[in-house]
Amino acid sequence: MMNLSRSVALISLFLLPLLSFSFSVDNPTDRRVLVLLDDLSLKSSHSIFFNTLKSRGFDLDFKLAEDSKLALQRYGQYLYDGLIIFAPSTERLGGSLDSKSIADFVDSGRDLILSADTSASDLIRGIATECGVDFDEDSSAMVIDHTSFSVSDVDGDHTLIAADDLVKSDVILGKTKIEAPVLFRGVAHSLNPTNNLVLKVLSASPSAYSANPSSKLSSPPQLTGSAISLVSVMQARNNARVVISGSLQLFSDRLIRSGVQKAGSPNQYEKSGNEQFVTELSKWVFHERGHLKAGSLVHHRVGETDEPAIYRIKDDLEFSVEIYEWSGKSWEPYVANDVQVQFYMMSPYVLKTLSTDKKGLFYTSFKVPDVYGVFQFKVEYEKLGYSTLSLSKQIPVRPYRHNEYERFIPTAYPYYGACFTTMAGFFVFSFVYLYHKYLPIPISLSIPASCNESSCLDSLTLLPTDQIFLRSSSTISVSVDSEQGNLIEAITL
């Protein structure tokens, strides 16, 4: 067994460099990212963002979105682990890329950062729709907010939003709180209510709305208030992560460097929150944070160390699983108090919260329920921002063997007694029934004097005394004293 697993591990080590994994649990570093731009000048105007990625070891490959040699995969293998699309106005992607191949890229577990902007093309809108995000249909609309705009917005149309309604999740946005508001200028989007994988990271304030800033507002805007999402993230069921931003400028050096003061607020910040926001968000989207791996799911009876092939009902067992989180450089022990294990057969019979030793080991012990069948240990862990863990291990549970039941229970002694009493009663009854003597029942008869023994018994009249009824079917044996003509004794049978 050990030899087999060792050789499998050895083979997979040889195979690893040949395969391009998405986020591989075994090989999470050395990641290549394709950056699609609609203008190569974005490379310098957004250099701070790109440089933070490079400094974290990402291999960025800048391409024009309309480059005819674009390809995400070659010979069926993906060339990149991540994709950044900073090409809001591109109508058609070059090479073999289209919205379907990008959806396939995400379906293969790879990550995507998609940024739209005002006048986003149908292509970008289509990709966003695939991810559960709908941009405002009016192509000239922008997010306008007359109360939480940035005072540095010199145009006066209040489209430079100072947004501070961030999702409260340490794993998506890092442990350090983003103090300064995030500057945003771009298009609004809303989340598809049927998609429960997508969530708002940066929301607009309740006073925001989406409209064309240069024209008069003739009809009520379609998207208003907190329904507007400025930046959203989606984690697919295969743990592929997607960031969708309504503003390309959010990532730009200009907004990253600029100071910020929210209108009506005395707090003035030297630098906007953009740099921290985009850096932390890119760490999350490229799995440098919040990616969990689970291993060595172990269970055994209390007091034993080997995993049994089968449990008996009411066995006490110990269960443990190791969970680690990828920190960008190494696997760190995951610490949480909300990991649960289910002992599951059609529905969970046992649901226990696991304790942790803070070194990555989660453990608990419980009693196997009084039900036999094929069970599963299940760990289904879904937590905001973290990758989904779904482990299961099958284990059968058998009933008691015939000789494992408890014997001679003091409470049951009366029942035992009753059984043996009944048996004794049966014996005694049989004896009595077989050997009892027929007791005579005396009756008196008056017999006519003329009667002799043989002739008149048929015509005997039975005169029952007051206590005795004779049925017509009773056999009577009679002894008659013929001398005196009187009956002496009769018995019934």
């Binding site: 409470t411 049951a412 009753a418 059984c419 009944t422 009663g425 049989s430 009892h436 007791l439 005795i468």
Partner: protein, 115 residues
């Protein structure tokens, strides 16, 4: 309607008793045996109500052995009763042998189930 009095009830019981005294002795023995079995069953049910149903299989086997015994005894009584014309062709010896065999099977099951 004639109003019934306690004297009527006494008369009724007296007539029942005198009628029963004419029952053949073997049937009386069976009746006594049935009463014994039912009484034992009732004691167990009362005990179960007192201490709870924990060794439920033991309780079941205890009570069912009594009930089974009573049922088999009643069957025997039906078969050996001379007044019962339905079984007039069945020898009382044969009826008793059946009774013994059924009891053996019953008690075999009961002992297995007693736990």
């Amino acid at each position: 309607m004639v109003k019934s009095t306690s004297k009527d009830a006494q008369d009724l019981f007296r007539s029942l008793r005198s009628a029963y005294s004419a029952t053949p002795t073997n049937l009386k023995i069976i009746d006594l045996y049935v009463v014994f079995a039912v009484f034992t069953a009732l004691i167990q049910v009362a005990y179960m109500a007192l201490v709870g149903s924990f060794p439920f299989n033991s309780f079941l086997s205890g009570v069912l052995s009594c009930i089974g015994t009573a049922v088999l005894a009643v069957c025997l009584r039906i078969q050996v009763n001379k007044e019962n014309k339905e079984f007039k062709d069945l020898a009382p010896e044969r009826a008793f042998a059946d009774f013994v065999l059924c009891n053996l099977v019953l008690h075999l099951v009961i002992i297995n189930f007693l736990g």
